[in-house]
């Protein structure tokens, strides 16, 4: 057979400048803002016992649009008395209505919530983007549909709870307290509420102070769905309110999603009580690329893993571990790919990376990036223009990162990728597990046996193979080590909201 021609690359290139691709402005996309009305109120009260009520203190705080720094609405600031009222209402509902209702009846309410959410999907997507800064294409294509999917999925479980723990019987816990973060405000509501409600529990939930709006809009849907009063109560405010929700004597269980730091404080304060807990905390996931991986799709996965939702994702693939033979190629392709990411107005349908959720978070990201530069890592940022107003941060890639660098150890929770290399699968596992966290990991290889081996050796709650950041209501999600305990989603998630006898 004649040899296949493959001219030596250097001979063709000699004496000519290295070829480059031009990602210029020959064909700029016109602004394409999503125009649906988010139907925001000027002022939101607390949602207690089925009604919106003013906080007893009479105090409110502003919810800010991170893309414009403008005020969106006033949010009620709950006090200890309001939290107590919410818990009292929840307890009453658990004792009188929701806790006694047959599962098939509860299912009807959950289906109704899911459908109402779908009906108002555009409105919710715009509200989510305005309040949190995430690109509209993500809130439209991911957050809102996925939130509805969680309600649908758990509605399906509500009349089949006998099969959650075959051979044993399950009963609701009663009242649960839940505190959720600002990165997926509506979706986290759904993750928390849907399994708790399907199981027959009543809830007091506190959204993050920077992103309360969609939780309160969901309260409107809960009203429209005619849920009995007190089944879901939503109190708003910052850390003190969260502490009051977690520390109250009524809830039989508290569920928290947020930073490891705060999770530890909560666990410390609840030590010695008989409250059940689930914690979904931080992460510093390793995304591992082997030399036989399909490189272009791996690059897509890396981009999706770290720049999805501006990197405000607890399972973000923030540490890239690349097999040395392909390290240069992967890095070059990554740099090229980030050049076509569009950073800017989150409401624009063509925006890939939106606004950083808060000024405080922007400061934290900036400080960690500075530390990366100081410690000797090599920084790359594309030259994309940033809006003059609002809180934005360029997609950032650090190469030559050492395991001891802060950017390789601490959760940045921003669009910052640290690139490290490895030589053998064993080294990859060792480096991937060399962290206090253990929430998620990614493995990219053409070799199936290697995927199975890696997934058993990686100490991570979720291991994605040849993909990243994929979620499904049926798939349990949760961590190892300082990434927390307990699972959300699937049968395992339901088990965390019931007593099994």
């Amino acid at each position: 057979m004649p040899a296949i021609k493959s001219p030596s690359l250097s001979s063709r290139r000699r004496g000519r400048p290295a070829p480059e691709l031009i990602f210029g402005d020959l064909w700029p996309y016109d602004p394409a803002p999503e125009t649906a009305d988010p139907k925001l109120k000027a002022r939101y009260g607390l949602f207690i016992n089925g009604r919106f009520v003013a906080p007893k203190s009479g105090k409110h705080f502003d919810s800010i649009n991170p893309a414009t720094e403008g005020k969106l609405a006033e949010i009620a600031l709950a006090g200890a008395a309001d939290v107590h009222a919410a818990y009292t209402a929840a307890q009453r509902a658990a004792d009188t209505t929701w806790g006694r209702m047959p599962g098939r009846e509860r299912a009807k309410y959950l289906f109704r919530i899911a459908r109402l959410l779908q009906d108002r999907a555009r409105e919710f997507a715009v509200a989510e983007t305005l309040d949190g800064g995430k690109p509209i294409k993500e809130s439209r294509d991911f957050d809102v549909p996925m939130a509805a999917a969680h309600f649908f999925y758990h509605a399906g479980w509500a009349d089949k709870l006998a099969y959650v723990a075959p051979g044993r019987s399950v009963a609701p816990l009663g009242v649960v307290g839940q505190v959720i973060p600002w990165n997926f405000p509506l979706l986290m509501c759904a993750w928390k509420l849907a399994p708790a409600l399907a199981m027959g529990n009543c809830v007091v939930l506190k959204p993050a102070e920077t992103t309360s709006i969609t939780a309160l809009k969901l309260a409107e849907i809960i009203q429209d769905a005619d849920l009995p009063p007190g089944v879901v109560n939503i109190v708003t405010g910052a850390g003190e309110v969260g502490a009051a929700v977690m520390g109250h004597p009524i809830p039989a269980k508290v569920a928290f999603t947020g930073s490891t730091e705060v999770g530890k404080i909560i666990m410390r304060s609840l030590a010695g009580t008989d409250k059940k807990m689930t914690m979904e905390l931080g992460g510093k996931a390793a995304n591992i690329i082997f030399d036989d991986a399909p490189i272009d799709q791996a690059v897509e996965g890396i981009i999706n893993g770290i720049f999805f939702n501006q990197g405000h994702v607890c399972c973000a693939g923030s540490r890239l571990l690349v097999h040395e033979p392909v390290a240069d190629r992967v890095l070059a392709k990554l740099k090229q790919r980030v050049q076509v990411l569009r950073v800017g107005d989150p409401l624009d349908k063509n925006t890939d990376v939106g606004a950083i959720n808060s000024k405080e978070q922007l400061g934290r990201i900036t400080a960690l990036v500075k530390s990366g530069v100081r410690e000797g890592a090599e920084l790359f940022q594309p030259a994309c223009p940033l809006p003059a107003k609002g809180w934005f941060f360029r997609p950032t890639i650090f190469s030559n990162v050492a395991m001891s660098h802060r950017i390789a150890r601490e959760e940045i929770f921003g669009p910052v990728l640290s690139v490290l290399t490895f030589r053998t699968p064993e080294e990859a596992v060792e480096k991937a597990n060399n962290t206090a966290y253990g929430l998620s990991a990614g493995v990219w290889t053409d070799k199936g046996s290697r995927i199975l081996k890696m997934s058993t050796e990686l100490k991570a709650g979720v291991v994605w193979a040849n993909t990243y950041n994929k979620f499904d209501p049926a798939s349990p999600f949760g961590g190892y080590k300082e990434s927390g305990f307990g699972r959300e989603g699937g049968r395992q998630g339901l088990l965390d909201y019931c007593q099994v006898t």
Partner: protein, 317 residues
């Protein structure tokens, strides 16, 4: 035993080719191209995209019932796609070899529209090499500016890569000054891995400015965003490695302006500005042209016009 060894040799060489050019994950690439379809192209960006797409059309008729008269009418449509004189001509007309001289007569010598001719026993390629080369020679002699050849899929699938490549080289040499477009017929290669491998096989013997092309338009599945993307990424990787810029032509199945814009978005975000012109990117299509015109007219007037307000070109693909 002997055939077993030969098969082993062939699969080793396929393995080597894949190792060399890398593989493609089909789930990943389809996820990638789905994102192109969510780009929102409005107002001036839309008009630019539509007009650019018009200039990229290889207006095609490839039917047994083609006549000199029909080809002449196709040529007039290519020169003046719409009543609106500001609408640019298409890049080329694409016809069978026997129709090339009629197209040349209709277009004249200095026409802004090039003549592309399919050749090499299109669409199957199942003719002796000498016959296929003679066909190329005849098309070029009759005035074809561009030759659209088909690769020998039988040889490719049998693992005879050297032969596939040598045949492409032979056609290239026979083309002389004419631009060569190499049709991979992706639906017969079936996997993205093989499309990528075949792209490299062809590109390694092509000249700068020659094309790789998805399909003949004669099979059930033709150009898709997925196989277009595999080939764009192959072109990109080859360009960055060698500095040789190969052009791309998806053909068949692109019927609407919206689809064409999605393909252009893929070009913009994969290969960049240097490929957003008809020297580097073409659409093999016929029905597409009138939909582009219809959308342009809608952008201009704010209303959709009836189909009969646009002249017929040809029915193919």
């Amino acid at each position: 035993m002997v055939s077993g060894l030969m098969n082993a040799g062939q699969s080793v060489s396929l393995r080597r080719l894949f190792d060399d050019v890398g593989t493609v994950d089909s789930v990943g690439i389809e996820e990638r191209v789905a994102k192109f379809t969510t780009r929102s192209i409005k107002k001036t960006a839309k008009v630019w995209g539509l007009r650019t797409a018009v200039t990229m059309v290889d207006l095609t008729t490839l039917e047994g019932k083609d006549t000199p008269g029909k080809v002449a009418s196709l040529c007039r449509k290519a020169l003046h796609p719409a009543d609106d004189p500001t609408v640019p001509p298409t890049a080329a007309v694409c016809v069978y070899p026997a129709m090339v001289r009629h197209a040349r007569r209709a277009l004249g010598l200095n026409a802004p529209v090039r003549i592309a001719s399919v050749a090499t026993a299109f669409p199957s390629g199942q003719a002796p090499l000498a016959t296929r080369l003679a066909e190329v020679r005849a098309a070029v002699a009759d005035g074809a500016d561009e030759v659209d050849m088909v690769i020998n899929r039988g040889a490719f699938l049998a693992g005879e890569y050297g032969r596939v490549q040598d045949e492409i080289s032979a056609v290239r040499d026979t083309c002389g000054a004419a631009t060569l477009k190499v049709i991979l017929e992706v639906s017969e290669l079936e996997t993205y891995d093989k499309i990528r491998a075949a792209s490299f096989l062809a590109m390694r013997v092509l000249r700068p400015g020659d094309f790789i092309k998805t399909s003949t338009g004669k099979t059930s599945l033709n150009a898709t965003l997925g196989n277009n993307q595999v080939m764009l990424e192959a072109i990109r990787d080859f360009y960055l490695a060698t500095g040789v810029a190969i052009a791309m032509k998806p053909a068949g199945g692109i019927r609407t302006a919206k689809q064409a814009l999605h393909f252009l978005v893929a070009v913009k975000e994969t290969l960049g500005d240097a490929w957003l012109n008809n020297r580097r990117y073409r659409f093999g299509a016929s029905a597409l042209l009138n939909d582009l015109l219809r959308q342009l007219e809608k952008e201009r007037t704010g209303a959709y016009q009836a189909p009969y307000s646009f002249s017929e070109s040809a029915e193919s693909y």
